[in-house]
Each structure stands twice: as structure tokens, then as C-alpha cells.
Subunit: 408 residues, 2 copies
Amino acid sequence: MSKRIAIVGAGAAGLHLGIYLRKHNVDVTLFTDRRPDEYADCKLLNTVAHHSQTIEREEMLGINHWPESCYFGHYYYVGGPQPLRFYGDLKKPSRAVDYRVYLPTLMKDFVSMGGQIEYGTVSTDDLELLSENYDLVSVCVGKYEMKSLFDTVDELSPFDKPQRALCVGLFKGIAEDETRAVTMSFSPMNGELIEIPTLSFDGMCTALVFENHIGGDLEILANINYDEDPRAFLDLMLDRLEKHHTSVYERIDRDAFDLVNGSKDLLQGAVTPVLREGATTLKNGKQIIGLGDIQATVDPVLGQGANMATYSSWIIGEEIVKNPVFDQRFFEHVENRRHDRVQCATRWTNYKLSSLASLPQEFMQFIGTMSQNRAMADEFTDNFNYPERQMDYFSSPDRIMHWCATYA
Amino acid sequence: MSKRIAIVGAGAAGLHLGIYLRKHNVDVTLFTDRRPDEYADCKLLNTVAHHSQTIEREEMLGINHWPESCYFGHYYYVGGPQPLRFYGDLKKPSRAVDYRVYLPTLMKDFVSMGGQIEYGTVSTDDLELLSENYDLVSVCVGKYEMKSLFDTVDELSPFDKPQRALCVGLFKGIAEDETRAVTMSFSPMNGELIEIPTLSFDGMCTALVFENHIGGDLEILANINYDEDPRAFLDLMLDRLEKHHTSVYERIDRDAFDLVNGSKDLLQGAVTPVLREGATTLKNGKQIIGLGDIQATVDPVLGQGANMATYSSWIIGEEIVKNPVFDQRFFEHVENRRHDRVQCATRWTNYKLSSLASLPQEFMQFIGTMSQNRAMADEFTDNFNYPERQMDYFSSPDRIMHWCATYA
């Protein structure tokens, strides 16, 4: 049987799925509204770290073009009257590449492997026609009204509004720490800052992901306008960094510190975390599959989005190749294999958003124990690859306490 | 952490779980109302074949005491104007032992391994007290009002009444076929007969499991009384066997044919198939786990009940050993690992009950193709071990047709 697959959306999820399918000689068409040569002029899309599990999949797909930009662990800094500083290793390195570089490169990979791309906007109504013309339609767009096609999983979608005011940019003027690593800085009750060594158009730079608590001292960073007065923007940011994120601030050269390419490299906004069902039935009775942001919209604080999206791509690719028919059983096989990771990435991220804002006792115990125990910090750090293992530790206060006890 | 586990019910599910836990040095108490020495006088409990996957678990638990009673495949007979006869091999043999022999032996194994048994009736109300005194309560009784504690999974419980009128007994006077095997005989629109070589108190005998369609020519076998007139009972059964289940009848010595121990070896009745949730929360807020019949009550036509129950036992045993805390995440791990098998055993059995009564076109195609193709018959036969693989073939008419095409 010759299978014809449509993929709507050319983000990491869609491209990984498309490339997997081309690797296995499946006929696949990708629908997107942006051509590869349009990415160079785009505003920053996001800041994404690929953990080693994702890089291994890229390796198998032949699309790991940027191994030199890898980082090797996490520095942790917890502010307060008695600041804590500690480090955890990744067993295998992670890597961050600007998606304005990453995505068009993968589009070219996909086309060179015989994949078809159709350019233009796909509306919700168009999906019915696609579902008649293809054996399976996969939807992996995050920005459109298509999300409403997929039912929300209420019990795993606890928030009705964003939990953080985000300010994300690519910066210069920040020296790297001794080991190339992510720095996770926590300013209790004010916000988190994730600093990610990132490869962009002109080489390595520094992504700063400000996760500011609503109503806190850092929220303003999500709202001030860079272009109106760049110096005022930078001064305010430096002021807040000095006060709240010391371990990053101390590596900054104030004079050199700036966005790499001005406000093109800046993104401000907010995300409401939502988990949705992984499949839906269209009015014509055809079932379509969702993956990536359309299934699980997560806050970027733990860097889970692209990693779980491309995990889904791999699973769906394998099941498309394996299953002769895309009936209910096909969708069951996909969900059976991906749901624990997708749900746990969502739950772990949501747990962190809540606990960092309320600091329950067991969470403080976890931070305290980990800060004194390198093996625990290594395990926690490497488990960014395995959100389901993190949930084995964070699913209840009893589990957290038990985990701490094993390291105490 | 020392874990204390309560198991309510000493059927195969409870005993396999108890023995698994004792193998791993977990403190476990089994609650049952029947002592080992009471089984010899019991009426026949059921007729159960353990497939090789179950026997492998018994081997690992050190409780495979009856290897000599194994059988090696299935003879299939499909009646009608052009009867079909064919055979399928099991890759590794299955085995049937009378549970009046099997269960008390395993109870002794359990006790000899340091397991505690408490004798007496456990009521639904008693579960709360147990849940306060033990770290986890597992419920695996099929006969009590406890079933109502577990919510029915409506979308996988399509029937509100029994689909077959059952007549089950242990017989003598039936010669074995060339290979020791189960015979599955199908009398279209009237019923199925499963003949199982079975080890009982006095050695090998023959279990006949009459699965009679409601309203058909064989239904009467579920209702006539043996003790009122044994000869009339046997003559009626022989008459119906001759007419509907030729491939069994032709091996019967009419004069020797009888229940091995009179009506003690006979069971007549009916089962309404129901799938229930695998866990429930008691009024005191404690969550308890269900396995075996209390989770999935299946018609015996495909012999799935005990095999999936003891599969659950193994999974639950592993997760009890692995998890430090029996919180929501524990129950998730159990369900993630067992739900596909439990659901597919249920769905495959229910599909067979329906399709054997309505004979849809694709089902007839399956029977016809398999009857001409030994490799397909072998695959179907061995997949009695793997109901989830059967559902990969039977989940939709398209899949059945695709399966047949691969063998055509």
C-alpha cells in the first residue's frame, strides 16, 4: 500500500515528521506559509534548546548540522539572603540553534530527500479537503485557530491565563561561564532567568529567557519597548539583572551588552499552558492527528516544547510506517507511546510554574538537598531529557521527600 | 521503606501477585474465604487455559508444577454445508489445570514463601479499614458486590446482558486428536465449542466449553439439569454435538461419555462482559487497585481472563517493587503498562462474540483465508498470547482485509 501523508505546519514537529517519512520512502507533502529564504528577515521565533534525546533523533535523520554549538550542563543560582550556586551535568550535551537558521535548513533537507512543500495558508476548512485527498493529515501549527479543533484536556490544563510575563532575546556582551552551559537563575517570587548559549546567524550568542512573575519586580521587562529607547531598555534590564540574577549579571560587559540585531532579536509576550487531545474528528468524519504546540502548549521555562514535539514526530513516523490502516487502532498506538512523555512534560512544567511561585516546603527541601548534592543535580539536569522521570520525583510531596531522602 | 500490601481475593490474579511480591520480599497478606483443603469438594470453578506467556511467568515465579499437561495448538472446525477443518500451532504450548487443583497448590506456595493468609469474608466496608492499615490494597475478587466500587468504562462495555448461554464441564470418553490441542468448533449462528485437554484431580480429562447463542439450537444445554436425569442430559448433549460439533463428536465413545465426577464437574450460566476502571477511590480518600475479573469480566470464549489477570499481577508486582510511594503516579505507571492488553483482550473477545453471531463479510473472508493458509492459522493461534496483536488485525474491516491480503 502506498501511503500519502499531509503535514500542516513546518516547525520542528512537522519537519522532523516529514524527514522521518521521507527516510522511509513515504509520500509526504508539507504545507506552510513561509519560504526558507523568508526566515532571515523574521523576528525571533522562540528560544529552543534541543536535549540529547532530540539530537540523537536528528543524528538518525541525518540533520544534525550544528554539533559545535552544544552545551554541557546547567548552572543553578537561587537568589535570596543566602544565595545557592551549584552545577549539574548533562550525560550528553544539549544544543540551541536559532530556529530562523534551523527551520529553513531542515526545509532544504526535506526537499532534497524528495519531500513536497506547498506554500500558502491552510485554513481550518481546508483540512476537510486535505483529509479526503491524503491517507492521513497531521497538524502541527501553534498559531492558528486550528487549536480549537482539538478538545482541551481539562484535568491537565489547570491555568486559564499565562503564568509568566515573558521577555526573550538574543544578546551580546555576556561572557560564557567556565563550562559552556545553561544558567538557570531563580529570584524567589520574582522570576526565573534561563540563559542559553545559542547559535544564531552570526555565530554563538546568548539567549536570555526572562520568566517574570506577574506582579513582581521583573514583570516590566515584558512590557517596555526597546525601539523607543534602547539605552533605557538595556539599563532597566541591567538594573534588574544585577538585583535578581547576579550569576548572569556578573559576566556581563555593560558597554557591550545589547540585543544582537536590535528588536528583531526580541520577543515579549506570554503563554497560557494548555494540553489538548492528540486527535480530532472533522465534520466529514475523518480523524486527523495533532502534534507539537497544537497538542501541548507549554511555558518555555523548562525547554520541553520542541523536545516533546519532535518525540511525537518520531513516534507518529514509526506508526505511520508500521500501520497498514489509519483507523482508531493507529491513533491508539500513537497515544499509547507518546502520552506519558507529552503529559509529563506538561505536568512537570506546570508544577514548576506553580511551585516557583508558591515555594511549598517539599520544593524548598528539594532545592536545598540538590544544592548540596552533585549526583542529585546531575540526575535532575539530565532528566530534562525525560520529563516522565522528573514526574516520578515530583508527582507528590511524598515522592519529593523520598527522593531527597535517598540523597540525604 | 518497608511496604505492606493487602490482596483481597485468592484467585489466579491474587496468588500471582502475592507470590511475585514474596519473591521480592514484600510484606503481603492475602484475604480469602476458602481454605486450600476446601477446594477438593468444590463444584467446578471455571475452565481456564494458561497460554505460554502466563506459563513463562509461572516459571519465573517457581510455580509451574504441571508441565506435562501442556497442549500444542488449536484445531479449528467451522460447520456448515462445506465444513472447514484446519490447524494452527502455538509457538510454545499452553496448559489447562483445574483451578480446584491449581489454586490450593499456589496458596501453599505462597505460604511457604512467607506470605500471610487471613481467612474470612471481606466486605466492601472492610476495605476502608484495610486501606488505613496497609500501604496498598489490591482487590481481585470477581463475585462480590465490590465490582460496583469500580466505574464501568462505558465505551468498552457494549453489552448489557450475556451474549452466550454457557455450559461447561469436565468430561471423560473423548479421545484426544493426533496432537494434544484445543479444538475450537464453530456452528454458525448456533454456538461455539471449545474443547480443552485439562488436568483435574484424577489426571487428564476433557473440558467442554459450550458457548451457545441465545435463541439457538444449543441454548438448551445451559438449562437442562444433569442430576434429574443424567442419561437424558448426556443423550441431548451427544445429539447436539453430532449435529453441530462434528469434529469433537467423532472422537467420542458414547458409552464412556460422561462428566468425570457428575454434576460437581458441571457449570451452567452466563457472563455479561464488562470493563471497569482499574482503580477507585474509597470514601476515606484512599485509592485501591483492581485486577482480574473485577477489572475485566470477559466471556470465556477466547480464554483471555486468567491470562490478562495474571499479566496485571506481574505488572502491579513490578510497580509495587519499583515505586517508593503509591500515589497517583503509581496508578498511572500500572495503567500505562497494562491497559492496552486488558482493553484488547476485552475488545477482541467482544468482537468475536458479535462477529460470530452476525458473520460480517470481512470476518467470513478472514475465516476463509485462514482455513487455506497454515502460516496465518499459526499466527492467529499464537496470538491468543497477545490480544493486542489480534486487535491490530481485527480493529476495523480495513485491517482484516489488509491482513487477509498479506496471506492471499
